[in-house]
Symmetry: C2
Subunit: 166 residues, 2 copies
DNA sequence: CAAATATCATCTCATCTGAGACGATACAAG
DNA sequence: CTTGTATCGTCTCAGATGAGATGATATTTG
C-alpha cells in the first residue's frame, strides 16, 4: 500500500536542522572536555575558562572576565569564589573601584595552568584532526559569522527579512 | 621597558580555542531559538524537539525519541509528560511492551506543528544566510565529523542520527 | 555639596538538570 | 515453571542555572 501523503508543510528533518546540529555538537564537545578537565584537574568548565582567561597574562576585574569568557556574571562570580577557595586564584581589591576585585592566578593556579595548557592543546588537536586543514580554516570563519548573527537574532525582536547590511 | 617574557608554555588564547568557540556558538544559537519557541509557541527546546521528531511522521516509543533527539531519557520523559498535559502529544500503551509508551502528535499538536515548521525554517534561514552556500555545505560536513569525533572522545556514548544515511 | 541614578559582585530563589534509585515488565538460562 | 538479568519510563535528590533583588560603591545631575 502507498503510504498516505503527508499533509501540511513538508516535515522538518530535525537531524538536518542547523540550530539543532550546532547545539548537539556544541554540547557533545563540551561534555567531552568537561569530563577530562574534571577528571584530570578537578575543574568545571566555568572554572577552567576563568583560569584560561587569567592565564593569558594580565590580572583582570571580574567584569572583564565576564566579557572575555562569554559567561554571565553569576557563573563567573561563583567560579572565582571556588577558585579562590582552592587557592588557584587571588582576589585583591580594585584600586580604582571598591566594589570590584582584581583577579589573577595565584602561584598554585599558575602551576596548574601550565599543566593544563599542553593537555588542552592535545585534546583540541584530537578533535580538530577529524577535519582537514582547509575545513579548520573555514570553520573558523563560519563560527565567527554564526556567532555574530545569532547574537543579533537574540537582541532583536521582530521579523527576519532585513536584506540589510552585514 | 619590554615586558617580561611569559614563562612556561605559550598561553592559550581562549577566544581561538575550538571547543570553547563551538560551545559558545551552540549556546548562543540555542538561546536565540529557545526564546522564539517559548515566546511564540510556549514550548521549551526539549518539547520542541520531541514535537519535531514526532512530526516527521511515525508514532514512536519514548526510547526511539531519545535516540533520535540526542536528549537523555529524563529530558524526553519530562517533555513528553508536559506535552501530553497540553494535549499536544498522545501517549498510548505499547502493544508489544507494557513498560513502554507510543507517542504521537495529537490533533492539537499536529496543528501547532504545522504552524511552527514554516517559522522554524524562516529562523534557520535567518541564521544560515550569514554564510555563503559553500560555507553551508562545508559546515554540514564539518558538523558530522566533529560530532562523531567528539562522541568517540567521550567513550562511544551515543550514536545519534547523522544526515547522509538512509 | 546633595540627590538621583548606574554599576559592581554577590545572594536569593524558583527552575532546570542528570545520575542513580526504583518498580514494572521483558527476556534468557536452567 | 523459577530465577536471574536487562531494559522500560519515572522519580528522587543534590547540584547547576540565571533573572531579579540586594547592599555597597561610583558617577552624574542639579
Amino acid at each position: 500500500m502507498p503510504r498516505s501523503p503527508p499533509p501540511g508543510p513538508a516535515p522538518l528533518r530535525l537531524a538536518e536542522f542547523l540550530p539543532y546540529r550546532l547545539s548537539v555538537v556544541g554540547e557533545t564537545v563540551s561534555r567531552a572536555f568537561a569530563d577530562r578537565y574534571e577528571a584530570e584537574f578537578g575543574l568545571s568548565i566555568p572554572e577552567w575558562r576563568v583560569m584560561a582567561i587569567l592565564g593569558e597574562g594580565e590580572p583582570l576585574s571580574t567584569q572583564e572576565v565576564i566579557v572575555r569568557s562569554g559567561m554571565d556574571r553569576v557563573k563567573v562570580s561563583r567560579a572565582a569564589i571556588r577558585l579562590a577557595a582552592k587557592s588557584l586564584v587571588a582576589r585583591t581589591p580594585h584600586p580604582q573601584d571598591q566594589r570590584a576585585h582584581i583577579l589573577r592566578l595565584a602561584p598554585k593556579g599558575l602551576s596548574l595552568y601550565r599543566l593544563i595548557v599542553p593537555r588542552a592543546r592535545t585534546l583540541q588537536a584530537a578533535l580538530a584532526e577529524a577535519l582537514t586543514a582547509e575545513e579548520q580554516r573555514v570553520l573558523d570563519v563560519i563560527l565567527g559569522k554564526l556567532h555574530r548573527r545569532a547574537a543579533s537574532l537574540r537582541g532583536w525582536k521582530d521579523e527576519v527579512s532585513d536584506p540589510g547590511l552585514e
